[in-house]
């Protein structure tokens, strides 16, 4: 292994220790990641924009701060940001032609908090256009490859963030999760992905997709790193009226060092172990359940009876909200404008050329669900069904502390496999959408392999149950080594580049 590979293999917590001891510098760490991006990203396409010079300047500042005796929670740690999250003076495209040249004049609150904690921004990662997709193939620019098999998708929509972290091209990353877009790519790339409770992390500066569902989450290679990042970005923000004014626990300290789960009641929702789930995925998740039981947890079979309605409810509500949110792209204040005969025609032409097929499909579906004559039958009905789904979870959390299930019904699929069949693509979100609809939190952790590809175990928790999820995931991780496996391409980087 070259030194670059070794530096890029460090966890965030291990790197912080070495930075604090002076064993490595932020410049070395950042340069190693930039070199690795240069070597691998031609095959992965995880990044839309790499901010090499800015990153090195930030790294030099981090080293200077340390030399002055200063410290900060992430001082000198290079991370990546999904390109639907605004970064001041750095192009933020949302994977769309319509925002191809958009340079935000402000930072998202989550990004500002990362910067203030000393993190270094390596660049902006690829995403399905406006985070609408489950494979990152709906990026207007290029698809991203899964580091475990370059012929397969990394999942989506935070596929660029997941691929970058899984390949050692970032130590951690921000993603956004509207229906599973952090947890699903984390599962398919063999890393950790955490979606916090709705309102736990400020949405200020996250380009809106489904406003009642969107939440910024973190992608890392282990659970402790997820706790470190969440601790920095979580908390109330006056700039997001839906952010929760609740204290932020010390998620890292909360991990403790216990490897046992004595006294923890884990619900196993039977609707998440249905026919159609890949057999090797199911057995990997069953084995994870056994490990947790062996650690002292009590497994309780639970029913979430409205689970089969999750996908239809989600795709009505998410598209309705998206169709409204995306009305702002009219070519007036920012973004693409394609002029036509008059203002009216300019709207149509700008949006025709600026949006890709999946975004158009969702705008159409959402507009239909909200239109006169169909509002009650689709949108209002879906909102009522959403109440029933939430009641399922509320009942479950009276009986158990967390729920455990697969993150996805199958491993990463081939690039192109589901592109022409939108309904099949939507169905791949079957185990993740409910959590967004009910507004609760979830984490996906690596729990094995099926057909040589990573499998994710999903833990779902009640509102503000992130500390509990992290503690349980950490105990599981202590008893397994799945998070230490690296994709074959890991060592395919030659010395110096």
């Amino acid at each position: 292994m070259t030194q670059t590979t070794e530096l890029c293999d460090l966890s965030i917590h291990a790197a912080l220790e070495q930075l604090r001891q002076g064993a490595i510098s932020a410049v070395e760490l950042t340069r190693a990641h930039l070199e690795r991006i240069a070597a691998l990203d031609g095959r992965l396409h995880a990044y839309i924009t790499v901010t090499a010079e800015m990153a090195l300047a930030q790294a030099r500042q981090a080293d200077e701060r340390r030399a002055r005796g200063e410290d900060a929670p992430l001082l000198g740690i290079p991370v990546a940001i999904k390109d639907v999250i605004c970064t001041r003076d750095v192009r933020t495209t949302c994977g769309s032609r319509i925002l191809e040249n958009f340079v935000p004049p402000y930072d998202a609150t989550a990004v500002r908090r990362l910067r203030e904690a000393g993190a270094i921004l390596l660049g902006k990662t690829n995403t399905d256009e406006f985070a609408m997709g489950s494979s990152t193939e709906h990026s207007a620019f290029f698809p991203t490859a899964n580091p475990w098999d370059l012929e397969r998708v990394p999942g989506g929509s935070s596929g660029g963030s997941a691929a970058a972290v899984a390949a050692g091209c970032a130590m951690g990353a921000l993603g956004s999760d509207t229906g599973g877009s952090v947890r699903q790519p984390a599962a398919l790339c063999g890393i950790v992905g955490l979606k916090p409770t709705y309102g736990r992390v400020s949405r200020y500066g996250l380009v809106a997709h489904g406003s009642s569902l969107d939440q910024i989450g973190v992608l890392t290679r282990d659970v402790r790193d997820a706790a470190l990042l969440l601790r920095v970005i979580a908390g109330h923000d006056p700039r997001d009226a839906t952010s929760l004014d609740a204290p932020v626990p010390d998620y890292v300290q909360g991990l403790g060092d216990a490897t046992h789960l004595r006294g923890v009641k884990i619900g196993v929702p039977k609707e998440y172990f249905i026919s159609g789930i890949e057999a090797d995925v199911e057995s990997a998740v069953r084995e994870a359940l056994r490990v947790m039981e062996e650690a002292g947890a009590q497994l309780v079979e639970i029913s979430l009876p409205h689970t089969p309605y999750g996908i239809p409810i989600y795709y009505l509500i998410a598209t309705a909200e998206a169709s409204s949110n995306l009305a702002r792209y009219d070519g007036v204040r920012y973004g693409l404008r394609v002029e036509d005969a008059d203002m009216w025609q300019t709207f149509f032409r700008t949006r025709a050329l600026g949006f890709g097929p999946e975004v158009k499909r969702r705008i159409m579906l959402g507009t239909y669900a909200l239109s006169a004559g169909y509002y009650d039958a689709y949108y209002l009905k879906a909102q009522k069904a959403r109440t029933l789904l939430r009641q399922d979870f509320e009942r479950a959390f009276q009986q158990v502390e967390v729920l455990a299930c697969p993150t996805t019904p199958d491993v990463a699929f081939r690039i192109g496999q589901k592109l022409d069949d939108p309904l099949q693509m939507y169905l791949s979100d079957v185990f993740t959408v409910s959590l967004n609809l009910v507004g609760m939190c979830g984490i996906s952790v690596p729990c094995g392999f099926a057909k040589g590809l990573p499998v994710g175990l999903q833990l779902m928790g009640p509102p503000l149950g992130e500390d509990l999820l992290l503690r349980i995931a950490y105990a599981y991780q202590q008893r397994t080594d799945w998070h230490t496996h690296r994709p074959p391409l890991w060592t395919q980087v030659s010395a110096g580049g």
Binding site: P105, Y106, T242, P312, D342, R351, R386, L423
Partner: protein, 96 residues
């Protein structure tokens, strides 16, 4: 549920101010029909006495203290505009 007609697709596209080619309209007739047919499975649910869930949070009318704070400068606000004139967003004439 019957297949969406071309006229319905065109009407929805008008509402959404979305230009579509003939081929896109054809494809959307087919795809939206299939998706809506699947979505209609929620009609199996009895929701007669169920209140709609509009938010995951029990929040209402969040207000902030009324004090001035710096926002974007005009230059920052206009920086991404496709066309600017005299410190304003510039659009095509909308009145004859």
């Amino acid at each position: 549920m019957p297949r969406l007609s071309l006229q319905e697709v065109e009407y929805i596209a008008q509402l959404a101010r979305l230009g579509l080619s003939d081929a896109e309209k054809e494809l959307l007739c087919e795809q939206l029909s299939a998706i809506l047919e699947y979505a209609a499975t929620i009609n199996q649910l009895d929701t007669d006495n169920v209140a709609p869930m509009t938010s995951a949070l029990p929040l209402r009318n969040v207000m902030r203290a009324d004090f001035p704070a710096p926002g974007l400068t005009p230059d920052e606000a206009l920086r991404n505009a496709p066309a600017v004139q005299d410190g304003h967003f510039c659009v095509q004439a909308i009145l004859e």
